[in-house]
Structures are given as structure tokens and as C-alpha cells.
Symmetry: C2
Subunit: 338 residues, 2 copies
DNA sequence: GTGAAAGCGCTAACAG
DNA sequence: CTGTTAGCGCTTTCAC
């Protein structure tokens, strides 16, 4: 199959290729007859416009780079699902890159996007990223940039996040209101903004309800079911008094639930548990686990729409960057209902 | 920030832009001194090669189109995770498209990839796709094409799948060997090859072990926890005798487990349950659910590697297409251990 | 309403 | 080892 260009169509019809180009782009100054004829021969010859050529000439690729830590984490794949859906409807395609939580790989991604001349970049930073990472250059080059969930510090660009502080507060408040008093919080050791916010919400809720803050109840580590199990084992082994556990995400909560059950503790009567993220399994397990919903798909759709709005308006960096904060919702399930 | 091209670097150094181009591409016939100088000024000026221009000229984009049904399904996002990982290591970037299980949207994806002049396409077909869908044209245009998991019928191209027949057989055989005799199989109503294969495995296992095939034990519908629950309710309501349930995927199995527990049936003593897919929650719930692992990330990596191997060899369609079939592994957990 | 011509930024063949 | 030259396939301005 020979490669067909607008020149081939032009020859076929004895017109110039510029007329063909205009017809294909539905230019107003082309007669309907010509357009008809051009489209018909284009179809007949199996013509497929060359986006590479038009991108080079026009300076627009209609491609958005999406840079996420890793796609095997439900949260990120759901958001990308949302982003792709909206971008697709608006004629944009997604160039995908995973940082694998590594700053080096993240910078390679930025470089690739820049070289690919994407029309914009949507990202969520890696766990290793500090300051503005390599993202500053994108803004310097005046290329539209927006973040979701994990936003770098010190870079004033549009973003969509959930109110993690509020999520942490709501979860803790709910436990307090359910009569729990010695509430453990499992967080993690890195200095990640969203996780710090959840911790802050926890602390403020305790304060507001006049409960003491006990350092022994605040645990930092890496999140996983195994870490959750280990935390419970340590708490029990050290004879630390507690009656509820709020974890920074659901996998850890799952481990917590398993170990509590193994230790013969009844959930929720003896110990209440609340997670974070609304992973699919939280509503399927027994007891069902209370958690905070992060509106993942919605987050993707919001960031995409925000981005498109700004893209259309042109002057991307001329305005105060819009920062959308979605309200998390607390899903009260069996693990904390007493 | 002005846009820097090789011409700017050339002017700066008083050499021609073709020398710059060669230096940048590490051409052997360029002195180390020149290369050094070129790279240094390139960095200093903030030069970023324009992939669009080089793609147009060279005819290679170093972009692979990946077309999947939807990214909010763990299976697909895991495979894409694997594909991106390997492609990335080999200098390729992923252009992502979701068919949303719609044939129309799938064809738009193919069109976009063709217009974007991707160097190849990796796909998993939508539930609506029949025959070779719109994929025939890709092969006709001699563009490398490969499938994973959901492969179209009547298109002889490379693929990576798991042995679904074997998975269905193993699951059923395991139940039989554990002493279960009246084994329900929940499948789905569409004519999808991989699902049919799982059913075939189920049937053959029964046959091989001399068990009767009872049509009332074979249920077809759409998969979801809710559908699983409904199936159990119907089985019980209709007084159908059964002592095990093998579902075509894990979410349905989860619903089955919930409803059996609600009905006071003990798992695994009264009823055994086996799912399919090894979703994260199957190892976290109680009882843990036996399932068939589909090696998702590995599948992505395999298809990417297979693809790269063929891409390098050139003559993509000159050889008999390689079809890799991965061996599924049965994970025996509490739900079927008696 | 259509044509002519320039050029986007690069690769690569041909010269020297 | 480096320079010259000709495009890749399209968009877009200026003509008529």
C-alpha cells in the first residue's frame, strides 16, 4: 500500500495540493463540490492525514503528556482513565509515562514530553521529588502544566486535589463521635504533602474534641498490608492502650483488620478501623471497611477539563492558577460502626 | 524562552547545522572536540531536540499505540504498566487510547494511531469487536500489530495470552479433587474467546473426571459482585443442589462469597469457591479466595518484548506470527481448601 | 474559489 | 572530518 499524501489526491483531481489541504480542513473558501470530490477520493485512495507533518508545521501536536508514578496502582490508573476519557472527547491523545516513583525517571519523562512537543503536561509527582523537581522548566518554556493529587511545592500552577486535611479530620472525628478515644494513626515516613495533611487533620480533630495527643499512637512507616499487620502486632506486644486505628490508606487498613481478627479483637466493638482511598476491596471484605473516598475518576475528569479550559483561553500562565480542591467523602461501613 | 534549534547552536559555534545534527546523534565521523562543544552549547542554550521534525524526516516516531478497553480495570492497567515499563527502557513512548468497550471508539483509536504514524500498535479488543474489527487495515499497511489477552478472530498476528482453557480446567479439577461434585460455573453471555475457553476447561474437567454436565449449573450473565450475589440467591431459591462455584473472574466470586456467608453456608466446608484473575482483594478477604493468576504485568512485559524483537528484525509480517501462551497458575486459598 | 510558494526542524545522501 | 543540498507532508500567507 503506497503512502498517499494530499499531492496524490491533488493529481487525481487535477487541482493543487493546497486546495486539497483546505478542503480536508473544511476551509470556508472552498466550494462544496470540491470538498465533496476531495473527500471522496481521499477515502477511495485510503488517505490518512499525517499528524506528524501537520504538527511540525502548525506547532500543535494535540497530544497531552501524562506523567504518573505507576499505573499498577488503582488510584493512578483510575485518574488516567478519567483524563483520557475527557481528553479523547476533545480531540487530544495521551502520551503516557511512568516515573516509577523515581526522580530520575520522572525527569526523563519530562524530557521526553518536551522533545515530543506535547501541547501540555498533566502530572502527579513521585515520592522522591523535592521542590519543583524538574517541572520548573516546563513552566519556564510556557508549556501548560497541571498537577493532580501529588503537587510539588513551590510551583504555582493549576491543580486538582482532594482536601486531605478534611479527609483526615472527618475520619478521626467520626471515630471520636463513635466513642473511640485512643485512636492510633498510621502514616508514613516521607515528607509528602498529602500525607502530612491527613496527619494534620487527625491531630486537629483530636485537639478540637479535647483528646490528648499521644506520640505512641502515631506510627510512621511504609504502607502495605504487611506494615499494617506489623503495627498491630507491635501495639499489642508493647501493651499500648488503643481502641481505634485510622490508616493513611486502605491496604494498610486491610492488614490492620486481618491482624486484629487474628488477635481475637472484635471489629468494631473493641477496635474501630478507618482507611483511606476507597479501594474496591473495602466494600467487599468482612467487616466492610470504612474509608475516605478520593473521587478518582472525577479527579481525572476535573483536571482534564480545567486544563482544556485554560488551553482554549490561550494565555495559560497569565492568570492566577486555578486550584480545585475536591471534597472527600467519608464512607462509614462496618469496621467503625458501633 | 526562544525556541532553540540546531541552527542556533551552529551559529553560536560557527559550524553548519548538519555538523551539529551529527554531533548530537553521536555520529562516528565527528571529532570528539566538536561533539563536546556542541553538547555544551546545546545544554547552555537549553536545546531540546524536536522529535516531531525528526519523525517526519526519518519516518519513525518511536511511539507505540496502546489500545485497551478501559484503564479502570486492574487487569488492563497492570498490563499497560508492564508494556510501558519495557517500552520505556527501549526508548519507546506509549500513546494511549481507551475503546471503552465500544467498537466505534476502537476504530477511532486505530484511526488516531494511523494518523499519528505510530511505529506499532498493541491492543486488546473491545467486547463489541467482531471478526478482525478495524485491525485488518493496520496489517494491510504493514504496521506492526500485536494483541494481548483479547485477540480478534481471523487475523494472524503475534499475541500473548494466557491459556484460559487450562485455567478453567485447573480450577475445576482442583475443586473436583477437593471432593466437590456439583460445581456451578458462572460465565458471561457474550461470545468472547477467552471466556469461552474457561468454560471449555470447566466442561472438559468434568468430563475427564466422569462428572455429569448439568446445564442448570452453568450460568451466563455479566460479571460483577452483584451478579455473583444474585446467582447464589437464585440457586438457593430454586433449590438447586450445588457444593462449589467457579466464577469467570474475581469480582463475581466476591459477590458469591458474600451471599453464601449471608445465607449461612460455610466456605469451604459446605461450598467451595474459586475465582479468576488474582485481584488484589482475593488474598485480603476472609476467607481468602482461591483464584487463577493471569500474570498481568508479565503479560505486558512479554508482549512488549515480543514486539521489540520483531520490530528490530524488520520484516514484521514476513514470518509466521509468534503466539505466546502463558501458563496460568492456580492459587489455592481458604475458599476451596477442605 | 483556487494556485504558488515558503518553511516548520530535522535526516541523510553526496561532495569535498 | 565537515559542508551542501534536498526533501519529509503539511499549514498558511499572499496572490489573482
Amino acid at each position: 500500500m503506497k503512502k498517499i499524501t494530499i499531492l496524490d489526491i491533488a493529481k487525481e483531481l487535477n487541482i493543487t495540493f493546497s486546495t486539497v489541504a483546505r478542503a480536508l480542513n473544511d476551509h470556508p473558501a472552498i466550494s462544496t463540490t470540491t470538498k465533496q470530490a476531495v473527500r471522496e477520493t481521499a477515502d477511495r485512495l485510503g488517505y490518512r492525514a499525517n499528524k506528524v507533518a501537520s504538527s511540525l508545521r502548525s506547532g500543535k501536536t494535540k497530544i497531552i503528556g501524562v506523567l504518573v508514578p505507576r499505573l499498577d496502582v488503582t488510584f493512578f490508573s483510575s485518574v488516567v482513565h478519567g483524563i483520557e476519557g475527557v481528553m479523547n472527547e476533545n480531540g487530544y491523545t495521551i502520551l503516557l509515562y511512568q516515573s516509577q516513583e523515581s526522580i530520575k525517571q520522572e525527569n526523563r519523562g519530562i524530557d521526553t514530553f518536551l522533545r515530543s512537543r506535547v501541547d501540555g503536561i498533566i502530572a502527579s509527582i513521585s515520592l522522591e521529588t523535592e521542590g519543583d523537581g524538574g517541572y520548573g522548566e516546563i513552566k519556564d518554556r510556557n508549556i501548560p502544566l497541571a498537577f493532580f493529587d501529588r503537587v510539588p511545592q513551590g510551583l504555582d500552577v493549576p491543580s486538582v486535589t482532594i482536601d486531605d486535611y478534611r479527609g483526615g479530620f472527618m475520619a478521626t472525628e467520626h471515630l471520636i463521635q463513635s466513642g473511640y478515644r485512643r485512636i492510633v494513626h498510621i502514616n508514613q515516613y516521607r515528607n509528602i504533602n498529602i500525607f502530612n495533611e491527613r496527619l494534620r487533620g487527625y491531630l486537629d480533630a483530636l485537639k478540637q474534641y479535647g483528646l490528648p495527643i499521644d506520640e505512641r499512637l502515631i506510627i510512621k512507616g511504609d504502607f502495605s498490608p504487611e506494615f499494617g499487620r506489623q503495627c498491630v502486632r507491635n501495639l499489642l506486644a508493647n501493651g499500648i492502650d488503643f481502641d481505634a486505628i485510622f490508616t493513611l490508606e486502605d491496604f494498610t487498613a486491610m492488614g490492620v483488620v486481618q491482624e486484629l481478627k487474628a488477635a481475637g479483637k472484635d471489629i468494631p466493638t473493641e477496635v474501630g478501623v478507618v482507611g483511606f482511598a476507597n479501594e474496591a476491596f473495602t466494600s467487599l471484605v468482612s467487616p466492610t471497611v470504612s474509608t475516605v473516598d478520593q473521587c478518582t475518576v472525577q479527579m481525572g475528569e476535573e483536571i482534564a477539563r480545567l486544563f482544556l479550559r485554560l488551553l482554549e483561553r490561550g494565555d495559560y500562565y497569565k492568570h492566577k492558577p486555578e486550584k480545585i480542591v475536591l471534597a472527600p467523602s467519608l464512607l462509614i461501613r462496618e469496621s467503625s460502626s458501633r
